[in-house]
């Protein structure tokens, strides 16, 4: 028998709420007011259950449970914030702070880079208790131009490892050693460029501490003026990832993925994430150029340029026939534009010589 109405109810902080079977307590709770703190959670990833900040009390269960990994069940009574739970969270945060260099990092390091700082402040956990050895060790030797690996700040939440595997499919990094000695490592502990890393920057943007930093954006750290965010679509390819372009005084200083971008849900590749320098590069062409009788390039209007191109095509067609034309559609074009392009070549010129550049 298949039940038509799949919804169930549970009691969340004294209020009856409904849920769909398969949802975790955290997912249910995130629809209600009151914020359960998390550090190892990224809603795009499989729940991991590492930081334990999301623990909640369940009636009839002796120990608190991690709300991010525990499925909601019919009739379950959950308390998301009690004196005991909040104390556990504060102690956990004091412990995390104690393994860390305890500096506040610039938000330009990455999208999630303020998460730890915000929680430590919210739970007043900057107490200096539990001092002892620090964990992690920064890879100052990894001199790639994109990603700072400042593992002195790492809290071993493994979001970077999981985003690389689950979202990016690259499996470039993983957890070396165990216990307090765990570190994030590539194959044979080398540099990112000698690994399977594609420099998509996903790990940077999910890191809750700034242990991974966006080196390009960090060039502008500490400069005066407000940062503005604008939400365009990445111009590079047909996927259409939404990005947040960060500008200060009309200058692009960085790109962050739009976590709610419908096509990408926070995912980007190296191009959308890091390859924006061309936009404001002095060598960038901003008007069409036409080569004149004198052999030099001269600025022209679009109409002049298109007329000139059409004339050239016509001439080739008349002199050498349809087989002299070969169209290559840009990989940056969406399906609709690519379709128009092939129509243009096939119907317009009468040749099937049409291709796309995406064969790297």
């Amino acid at each position: 028998m298949i039940e038509k109405d799949d919804s169930r109810t549970m009691i969340l902080d004294g209020v009856e709420v409904s849920f769909t079977p398969g949802e975790t307590i955290y997912e249910v709770a995130s629809r209600s007011p009151g914020e359960i703190p998390t550090l190892c959670y990224d809603k795009r990833l499989d729940p991991f259950g590492g930081c334990r900040l999301c623990v909640v009390e369940v009636e009839g269960v002796r120990n608190p449970v991690a709300s991010c990994t525990t499925p909601a069940s019919e009739g379950m009574e959950v308390r998301t914030s009690t004196e005991a739970i909040d104390e556990h969270r504060r102690i956990l945060l004091e412990l995390v702070a104690s393994e860390n260099r305890q500096i506040d990092v610039d938000p330009l390091r990455g999208y999630a880079s303020q998460e730890l700082t915000e929680l430590v402040d919210r739970y007043e956990a900057r107490t200096g208790r539990f001092e002892g050895a620090r964990s992690g060790s920064s890879r100052t030797d990894d001199d790639n131009p994109f990603i700072l690996r400042d593992y002195d700040l790492c809290i071993s939440c493994y979001r970077c490892v999981r985003v690389c595997a689950e979202e990016e499919g690259d499996h470039a990094i993983n957890v070396l050693n165990r216990g307090f000695e765990t570190r994030i490592s590539t194959e044979f502990d080398g540099s990112l460029k000698d690994s399977d890393c594609t420099f998509c920057g996903q790990c940077v943007q999910t890191c809750p501490t700034g242990a991974l930093g966006d080196r390009k954006a960090m060039r502008y750290e500490g400069e005066p003026g407000n940062i503005e965010k604008t939400r365009p679509i990445c111009p590079y390819c047909g996927v259409g990832c939404s990005i947040d372009v960060m500008t200060r005084d009309d200058r692009i200083i960085g790109v962050q993925p739009a976590m709610d971008g419908p096509a990408n849900l926070g995912a980007l590749c190296i191009k959308g994430q890091f390859a924006y320098d061309f936009v404001q590069h002095p060598d960038r062409l901003s008007t069409p150029l036409i080569r004149g009788e004198d052999g030099e390039l001269h600025e022209a209007t679009w109409d002049e340029a298109l007329d000139r191109a059409a004339a050239g095509f016509k001439e080739a067609l008349e002199k050498h026939g349809a087989e002299s034309v070969y169209g290559v559609a840009s990989g940056r074009a969406p399906n609709e534009a690519a379709y128009t392009m092939q129509k243009f070549i096939r119907a317009g010129f009468g040749t099937n010589q049409i291709d796309n550049c995406s064969r790297a």
Binding site: R52, P71, R129, S156, G179, E187
Partner: protein
């Protein structure tokens, strides 16, 4: 003879279930270490990303990644060997020798692992391989379940096993019982898990029998990583067919068709014994297809060696390790009974649990149930070590007074000192001392004192011992073995170790206690698995019984 090629090694395992561990060992054995080229070959051959393979190898203590590493001696720095100057032996063995956690030879310290050999002795010149001793008969002539027939000569061979009633339980189960009746017999006996958590075995088997999804799997947990525990080793060394028969019964009860024995790396001799027994059983048609002529009763067992990680005894971590994944524990629910090996229904049972099944089936639930004192069901094997006259394994009736075991069965203190404290559950139960030494050996009694019986390892410390040092040694073990998945344990075990060593933390008692209690509280309440939940019992019990020793240390 030329060495086998990378390709051949991979090929010989690639289509077997759970291939990663055996492939790693094949390369490790061939070369004496795992080279970068080997890891790259394996990564390609098994389609495991290289960063994942490289870091997973780093997780295991005993996989050497430097040339000649496998043969370098490793000296136990566990709680018992440390009472016998293991540190001095480590020094004597000189360069290349390193420390390792307890390899389960606490009955005859100090233990050294060299290549595929375990050597015992108190100094470098004395070291020699010594086989596991047979458990001594109990003084009262009490009926036993686990050790009932283990002392019969030749018991470890198929012939000897059969002569002493072996495989009769399986025959009975096949010929005279339905799988459901088999489950019921185990349930009625009151048998509960002997690996630490004490979950009722019949209920576990029933859940797997009823769970949707095939093939189902029986995993024998032979990882025995808890310091002070060495019972499973004695069982497997002297009664390997009992393990096989127990697993076959579980398979019959649940409909499982594949089985694994996950054996800790530190038991190389046991590995050879089990291999031989498995081959014997296969040849005799006791494993394979249509076992004992029963139509459709198919069951195969694959032996898999661990590689040195205490956490791999935790069932979720064990299953990840078998599957070739990073051995972090899994989140629960779901539990292995529905989502175990390859996410299919799986029984994970301890060695002692499984070998209890054949006698129960043969002699009946009521017989087993009555072996315990009063209302308590059955027996428990206790591994006893430390400052005690007769260290070794003893099968005690559930509910036997601890004092009776220590004094009447095991001869009391080994040295001139009086007994001071004992550990419970190996190290996981922390210490019992003072008036709490009047417990009886069963969960209700021991839990009422804030500890637990668990897998049944008891280490004895006499009055001549420094309990703060013992606590530090224990916490170092937990810190070294913490997998690093969850924050409370990863950071907490480190901080507690530092505080017990006095290397950081408050220098006065009130501040020290406040920090240690807060860390312990959060570890117990929020850790993701039993390791982190149990570790603070060490500091909790130290504070309970030995506050003056701590205070003296802080001054």
């Amino acid at each position: 003879m030329s060495a086998t090629s990378d390709q051949d090694l991979i090929e010989s395992w690639r289509d077997e279930p759970a291939p990663l561990l055996p492939v790693l060992h094949a390369f490790h054995d061939r070369d004496g270490y795992l080279s970068e080229e080997s890891m790259r070959s394996i990564s390609q051959g098994l389609r495991t990303p290289i960063a994942e393979l490289f870091t997973t190898v780093s997780f295991y203590h005993h996989l050497a990644t430097e040339e000649g590493g496998k043969e370098k001696p490793r000296v136990c720095n566990g709680p018992v060997c440390c009472l016998r100057d293991a540190g001095k032996l480590l020094e004597e063995l000189g360069e290349g020798a390193t420390a390792m956690p307890c390899p389960g030879r606490c009955d005859e310290p100090v233990a050294v692992l060299r290549g595929d050999e375990v050597l015992l002795g108190l100094s470098a010149t004395e070291l020699s391989p010594i086989p596991s001793p047979l458990p001594a008969p109990n003084p009262g002539g009490l009926d036993e379940c686990v050790f009932g027939s283990i002392r019969e000569p030749g018991r470890s061979t198929l012939e000897g096993y059969r002569k002493t009633g072996g495989y009769e339980a399986l025959e009975k189960a096949v010929n005279k019982m339905t799988p459901a009746e088999l489950v019921e017999e185990i349930s009625d006996s009151g048998l509960a898990g002997r690996g630490g958590a004490g979950f009722p075995t019949g209920r576990k088997w029933k859940a797997v029998a009823e769970a949707p999804g095939n093939p189902k799997t029986i995993v024998c947990n032979a990882d025995e990583g808890e310091p002070g525990c060495f019972k499973d080793r004695a069982i497997m060394d002297h009664d390997p067919h009992a393990v096989i028969e127990g697993m076959a019964l579980a398979a019959r009860a649940t409909g499982a068709t594949r089985g694994f024995i996950y054996l800790r790396y530190e038991y190389p001799g046991t590995c050879a014994i089990l291999e031989r027994a498995l081959n014997e059983a296969k040849a005799a048609g006791l494993l394979g297809e249509n076992i004992l002529g029963a139509d459709g009763f198919d069951f195969r067992i694959h032996l898999r060696r661990g590689a040195g990680a205490y956490i791999c005894g935790e069932e979720g971590s064990l299953l990840n390790s078998l599957e070739g994944k990073h051995p972090f524990p899994r989140n629960r629910p779901p539990y292995p009974v529905t989502h175990g090996f390859e996410d299919l229904p799986t029984v994970v049972n301890n060695v002692e649990t499984l070998v209890s099944a054949p006698p129960i089936v043969l002699r009946g639930a009521a017989w087993y149930q009555a072996l315990g004192e009063g209302e308590l069901a059955g027996t428990k094997v206790i591994s006893l070590s430390g400052d005690i006259a007769r260290a070794g394994n003893n099968e005690v009736p559930m509910g036997l007074p601890l004092g009776t075991l220590l004094h009447d069965w095991a001869g009391g203190p080994a040295r001139e000192h009086e007994l001071q404290a004992v550990t419970m559950a190996g190290l996981s139960g922390g210490f019992l001392a003072g008036d709490d030494l009047d417990v009886t050996l069963d969960e209700p009694s021991i839990r009422s004192r804030g500890s637990f019986l668990g897998a049944g390892g008891i280490i004895v410390f006499d009055q001549g011992r420094d309990m703060v040092a013992a606590a530090r040694n224990a916490m170092e073990f937990f810190a070294d073995e913490s997998c690093g998945k969850c924050f409370p344990c990863r950071i907490g075990t480190k901080r507690l170790t530092e505080r017990l060593a006095g290397s950081s933390g408050p220098g006065e008692m009130a501040g020290w206690e406040a920090e240690v209690r807060d860390i312990g509280k959060v570890m117990k309440a929020t850790s993701a698995c039993g390791l982190g939940m149990a570790a603070p019992l060490i500091t909790e019990s130290l504070l309970k019984y030995f506050p003056e020793e701590i205070a003296r240390r802080l001054k």
